[in-house]
Structure formats: C-alpha cells, structure tokens
Assembly symmetry: C2
Homo-oligomer: 213 residues x 2
C-alpha cells in the first residue's frame, strides 16, 4: 500500500535524490527506453549504485536480475511515492516579484502543488488575478481558508513580515509552510517547515567561483 | 582585504547560514537597532551562539564585549563578503514558465545576480523581451556571450535538454551553472555547479506532512 509507505519518515538525502532518479527515468521514458539498471542510473547521475538500490528499496518496486527496472513502472512508482501525483492545495503569501513568479510557474503543478490563491497587502494587486489565481487581501486569510482548505502556505514576503505571516498561516490551519524568505521562522511542532532560500545558493556559488579564479 | 577572504573555500553550511544572519540584521537595521549580540542572533535564528561566532570569524569583523556587533556594519560586511554587492552577469537558458519567472524576480538583482539575456528554442518568444531582458535563439549563445560576457548560466530547460544545454554553456565560457532542473548534469572540474531543485523540496515537504498525519 502506497499510503503506508508514505507515512515512513524518510531521510532527507534520500528524498532529495529520488526526484533525480525520477527526472532521469522520465527522460528515458520519453526516449522509449524500456529497462534501466541501477548501475546505469548510477553512471548517469553520479550516485553510487548501492545507494540507488538502497534508496529505491523504500519503494515497493523490484528490478529484474540483469535487466533492471521497467522504466515506465519505475517512473510511476517514484512519482506516486513522492506525492507528485496528488494535488496539494497551497496559498501564496506575498505576491511580489518572487511570489508572482511562483504562481506563474506551471512546473509546480506537475509536482503536485496547486497554488489556489495569493495574498498581499498591496491594494494595487488585491482583486486582480495571475494566471487565473485570485489575489486577496491578507486580512481575508482565515475566511478564504474556510473556502479553499489549503494545506500548504508558501511564504514570499519581505523578511520583516516573515514571522508574523508564518504565525497567521499557522492559525489558519495549514499543515506546512514552504519558506522562500531567508528568515528563519519559528513554527509549532505540528507544522512542517521547508526552507528554500534560493538566494543563499547564490552565496555558495559566488564563493566557489571566487575560489576557482 | 575582502578580496583575500573571498578566495577562502568556505564550508557550505556556513555559506548557507550567513544569509540568514544577513536577513536578520537587515531587519534590525530597518528597525533602527544599533547593536546585536551573537546570543541574540542565536535566539532568533535557532543556531548555537558559538556556531554564529565561528561563522562570523571568517569575516573581518569584531563584536564589542557586552555590546555585540554594530548592526549596519555587520550587514554591510556580510553582504560584501557573500558577493551580494557585486554584479554577476548571467544568461537564462530556457525561458519557459520557471525561466521567465526567474527573469522577473527582482530579488535576484538584490543578491548580485543580473540576468542580462534569455535563450530559448521557441520561435514565439525569440525576439521578445521580459522586463527589458531580451530573449535570443539558443543558437546565438556563443555570439551573444562575446557581447555580454556572462559568468553564470542559469539552467531551466526541460530535463531531456539539461546536459546538452550545460555543455553549450560550458563551451561558451561561463564559470558556473545554476541548475534549476532536477537533472544531475556533469560539468568540467573548472566549472562550478549549483543545484537548486525547488521541486525536490516539495518531495521532502510532502513526506513530512504525511508523517505528521
């Protein structure tokens, strides 16, 4: 049962590698390739074959000796396992440059995240729509939550409003906050927090560039 | 000298924490607060005070006993140290949903990344502009590189074109590739690779949500 497997708390490194395998087997599927071995995945993705076998052992999927995994089946199982086939409703809090960009990114929908509404304090954008997604006054958050029942709050507000916005989101009943701000927000134990500060990655990249000069 | 310090290969965890401190002290600066101690930063950010002192020791900055760090000075030093005050010219390869979104995100410019041109294969967008950034045919990459001299290639193409696009970028002479695809591209030793697969973060978040159900 997929449901049972999904309840297992997986190590974060595994959860980060599984989408790499998925991207690769999706590509193979597009090339009409039928079978792939963990050795082949390992070669292409630069991850140890034994690590791949271990990661995939969390799924209910078996490769055939000497033939490997059936590509289409592996892609479906990985996608299901990772929750990409389900629809997770989300609110976007902060519809500035990054927030608006995320609403427009259709890629998120392919990975199971549907942003159903955006919230902001800027009167110039409240009442408008971006790609069909309505933008509301953030004061309406609780009211709109009753209407939409969003599980996830995506946070892209200015740093000084990050904690207050996170608090509002928690009170509205979201189960998780996807934090795109570089601020370390605090949440209650029963709320999942996922930090994705793309700007912090720039710092790593700049340092590596300077060191190679 | 800042230049010397910047050539030191810093541990990635440190490089990822420094922007958190920067975000926090920028907020304090906006509130006209003059001094902050590492203990106070620790409390707000959930990082050990000793760890913070260690991280900040990479910078040429000293706190005063019992008073702590001067907020404005710390913010400037952190931003300089992280390279956010320099301008790094970048090409966006793949101007689909995510690529277009990143071109529109003015936040990147605040962190020192200026996307100077976009490249795509889609004739409907070649020759257009997004927020003043021209979109060229990807076949013009080498030619445009002579014109712009971009150091960084930002990759947001479909998975099946990720490696070929990365190869093209390398041949054009970029020093680093910021890879937003979930594909594990291979690059030469002298090219910096930074993987930022925001969709992989969704997999981690979904798993954590399911485990708390």
């Amino acid at each position: 049962m997929i449901e049972d497997v999904n309840r297992v708390l997986l190590p974060e490194p595994t959860l980060r590698r599984l989408p790499w395998y998925l991207a690769y087997v999706n590509m193979l599927h597009g090339q009409n390739i039928e079978y792939v071995s963990s050795t082949q995945i390992a070669k292409e993705i630069n991850v140890d074959a034994s690590q791949i076998a271990k990661d995939l052992s969390f799924l209910n999927i078996k490769g055939k000796t000497r033939i490997g995994y059936q590509v289409e089946h592996l892609a479906t199982e990985l996608s299901n396992f990772l929750g990409f086939h389900e629809v997770h409703k989300a609110f976007m809090i902060g519809v500035g440059s990054l927030g608006a960009a995320l609403i427009q990114d259709s890629g998120l929908m392919q990975y199971g995240l549907r942003i159903v509404a955006g919230f902001d304090v800027d009167e110039r954008i409240i009442g408008t729509e971006i790609c069909g997604v309505p933008i509301y006054d953030v004061a309406q958050l609780d009211m709109r939550q009753k209407e939409y029942g969003a599980d996830i709050g995506v946070l892209a507000v200015p740093v000084e409003h990050a904690q207050a916005s996170a608090d509002k989101l928690q009170r509205s009943g979201v189960k998780a906050i996807w934090n795109f701000t570089p601020f370390r927000i605090k949440v209650a134990d029963d709320v999942v927090i996922q930090n994705t500060s793309i700007y912090a990655h720039l710092a790593v990249m700049y340092n590596r560039i300077n060191c190679k000069k």
